[in-house]
């Protein structure tokens, strides 16, 4: 047994409840990575509600043709805010929440390397999100889409101050995200348990390490673009203003050289979560550890060489297209490798179909659909035909929801007992799972067909063309099913927290170090650590104990 020599205060014990001895103040002033992790998840839930309401309003507007429920101006604001919120203020905080909570626990550290910077990153991010939403009160929300193309983002086309709030809000969110990523990298490099070499790192931690490097490299182009846009709007500069020598294409290049890596930033942590979940519920080690880590690194590197596939409709010339079409197809390879890793992990294992495992298995199906429609977009003529149609909307939701969110859900049901100390009722969890899966596919699968039939995205209504009406109505009903399932989820989480069965330290018979400590963990994570022999340190410990018992 090794003792940990990371000093940490012990005076206040964390609790997942707001009503502890120091109350709300403790939550606001906390620098403990577990409490900050939970605050990140709560922030994600808050903005999920806001972004979800925006999505529902959009679906209500689109439920019947020639609808006037929302004005075109309001519709533009809502789809912009929906996209921006879900990407920057829901997915990202959820990922960071799981990362800051579980990375130290999985590597045997007592906190992140810079606990106060961790708190700063959280609050600056929350402040950025609130600024973004304040725009509704300040004359109008941003209304040029989440990727905010020039010249629509210029004063002449968007006169409210919404886009200024978009720039400042996202700059602040970006500072927080980059700060946390730097924090995580330093923690993973310097604060691992003794004996835990990089080859013995759990796959989740590996993915977070790769992902943090991606964030550090991908956010600066966005920050540069946002600063230029703010100058354009506030000081009448000429970066993106095509009437005075500026170039809207520069915005597209800068935005997508951030935006495409961002897609992988949102999916890699889910890959990490799934790798843990598949192992534990299949009772097998991950199939091809080095391949799953190596393909993660390959994805991160390739992510910076594919951004122009978002811009095939611009007219950049055949050479550029050939290169980016090839690189975009290439990135499908490491992603495919991972899918086979997970299938191989399940193969021959004794599977346990918990809610978490169901989400992981559903991920394989949904994400493959999203991946295949993505590869279709790498083919330039198909892209020209389908770009800016509902096919894109269907594709991106299959990747973001069917991919990232399903992975995060698997993580939530896997780790909830650790974070709260209470078990979730499997019966209710499965109700949620099926309701969500059916609602999700009902909403978005039909949009593939709508897109192929030619329905453009981001238009507030549509004429009564053959098929449009019933397909949109179906999609809207699916959207309501999804929201219903989310209400059920919140009910389940609340109920489990109140009256769930106590979880114990290791309810899933799991493999990694976070399950060695109590649920929820004490403020000081570890006082002693087992020796590390592999990336399944806790399993090694349990096997050794078993063998010793039998006198071997």
């Amino acid at each position: 047994m090794e003792t940990v020599n990371v000093p940490e205060p012990e005076e206040s014990l964390p609790s997942t409840s707001i009503s502890n001895d120091q109350g709300l103040l403790q939550w606001i002033s906390t620098v403990d990575h577990k409490q900050i992790g939970i605050l990140y998840l709560l922030m994600s839930v808050l903005f999920l509600l806001l972004g979800g309401v925006a999505a529902l309003l959009i679906r209500v507007q689109l439920s019947v043709p020639n609808n006037n429920f929302l004005s075109p101006e309001m519709y533009n604001q809502l789809f912009t805010m929906h996209g921006t919120t879900m990407v920057f203020l829901v997915m990202t905080p959820a990922i960071l929440g799981f990362s800051v909570y579980f990375v130290p626990l999985m590597i045997g550290a007592n906190d992140l390397a810079f606990p106060r910077m961790n708190a700063f990153s959280l609050w600056i991010g929350l402040f950025g999100g609130m600024l973004l939403y304040f725009s509704f009160l300040a004359g109008g929300a941003p209304d040029a889409g989440w990727f905010n193309y020039a010249p629509l983002n210029q004063r002449a086309y968007s006169q409210s101050s919404g886009i200024d709030y978009y720039c400042i809000g996202l700059l602040l969110v970006g500072i927080g995200t980059v700060g946390t990523s730097i924090n995580l990298i330093v923690t993973i490099i310097y604060y691992r348990a003794k004996g835990m070499s990089l080859r013995k790192l759990p796959v989740f931690v590996w993915m977070i390490l790769i992902n943090s490097f991606l964030i550090v490299a991908a956010f600066p182009p966005l920050n540069a673009a946002l600063s230029m846009l703010l100058l354009d709007r506030q000081l009448q500069t000429h970066f993106f203003n095509n009437t005075s020598g500026g170039s809207p294409i520069v915005w597209q290049h800068l935005f997508w050289s951030f935006g495409h890596p961002e897609v992988y930033i949102l999916i890699l942590p889910s890959f990490g979560i799934l790798s843990e979940v598949f192992q534990v519920y299949s009772r097998k080690p991950i199939f091809g550890y080095s391949f799953i880590v190596g393909s993660g690194i390959a994805i991160a590197l390739l992510a910076f060489g594919v951004w122009v596939h978002h811009m095939f409709a611009v007219g950049l010339g055949l050479t550029v297209y050939s290169y980016f079409a090839a690189s975009s197809m290439l990135i499908g390879v490491p992603t495919g490798v991972k899918v086979f890793n997970w299938l191989g992990t399940m193969w021959g294992g004794s599977l346990r179909f918990t809610t978490s495992m169901l989400f992981a298995m559903a991920f394989l199906v949904e994400f493959t659909i999203g991946g295949l429609s993505g590869v279709a977009f790498a083919i330039v003529p198909i892209d020209w035909q389908l770009t800016d149609s509902y096919f894109v909307v269907a594709h991106l939701h299959y990747v973001f929801v069917g991919g990232s969110l399903f992975g995060l859900m698997a993580g939530l049901f896997y780790w909830y007992p650790k974070m709260s100390g209470k078990m979730i009722s499997e019966k209710l969890g499965k109700w949620f799972f099926w309701l969500f899966v059916i609602g999700f596919n009902m909403t978005f699968f039909i949009q593939h067909i709508l897109g192929i039939k030619g329905m453009p995205r981001r238009v507030y209504t549509y004429p009564d063309l053959p098929g449009y009406t019933w397909m949109n109505m179906l999609s809207t009903i699916g959207g309501f099913l999804m929201s219903l399932s989310f209400l059920l989820l919140f009910y389940i989480l609340h109920k489990s927290y109140k009256i769930g069965k106590p979880a114990g330290n290791d309810p899933w018979d799991a493999y990694t170090l976070e399950w060695t400590v109590s649920s929820p963990p004490k403020i000081r994570n570890f006082t002693e650590l087992p020796p590390i022999y592999s990336y399944r340190a806790f399993r090694d410990l349990k096997e050794n104990a078993k063998n010793n018992k039998h006198g071997k």
Partner: protein, 179 residues
């Protein structure tokens, strides 16, 4: 950690410089640079900024050897050189603004002020950090060579210098050489 901060800042400047180069290709862009910018005076101020990297290395060296008095002198020299460079930038900005050359004039002015302004902003941050260390040194907090603060700030300061080498080459020297 500082290396990661510098990495992310470096990519920010690369983005800004690529944008500059992109607009550089448009008509009349380099001509503006030659007409408006004063390569000689900015060149002299640039040399001062570059030498501040040298003085800071001296400060770090003396700090690691425990010579606190020399540390104070070299730190002060670094701060003075950095401030003089900023004064030079301010002088150039005021001259340009008096000639009605402002940020919203055209594509060149937009890019010039943004790129050099972002750099100047980073010099200011570096100076603030150096001044904090200087004050702490005077207060006696840097008596023994056991803090990594100075070497971290040093890394940042050298980075800001290297960025200026690139920006100065791109904005001043190349148009002058290629005219």
């Amino acid at each position: 950690m500082m290396r990661l901060v510098i990495a992310t800042e470096a990519i920010l400047f690369i983005s800004l410089m690529i944008t500059y180069v992109y607009f550089d290709l448009s008509v009349g862009f380099t001509k503006q640079s030659i007409n408006y910018l004063d390569i000689k005076s900015t060149g002299i101020f640039s040399v001062l900024l570059f030498s501040s990297s040298f003085t800071l290395v001296q400060a770090e060296k003396n700090y690691s050897e425990g010579k606190i008095k020399k540390l104070k002198i070299w730190l002060f020299a670094t701060i003075v050189l950095g401030s003089v460079f900023l004064f030079g930038q301010a002088k150039e900005y005021f001259k340009l603004l008096n000639n009605h050359f402002n940020i919203s004039l055209d594509v060149f002015s937009t890019n010039f002020f943004t790129l050099t302004g972002f750099h100047a902003f980073h010099v200011i941050i570096g100076l603030i950090l150096l001044i904090i260390v200087f004050i702490l040194t005077l207060a006696g907090d840097f008596d023994r060579p056991n803090s990594t603060a100075l070497s971290s700030i040093g890394m940042y300061w050298h980075f800001v210098d290297i960025v200026w080498i690139l920006v100065f080459t791109l904005v001043y020297v190349l148009p002058y050489l290629l005219k």
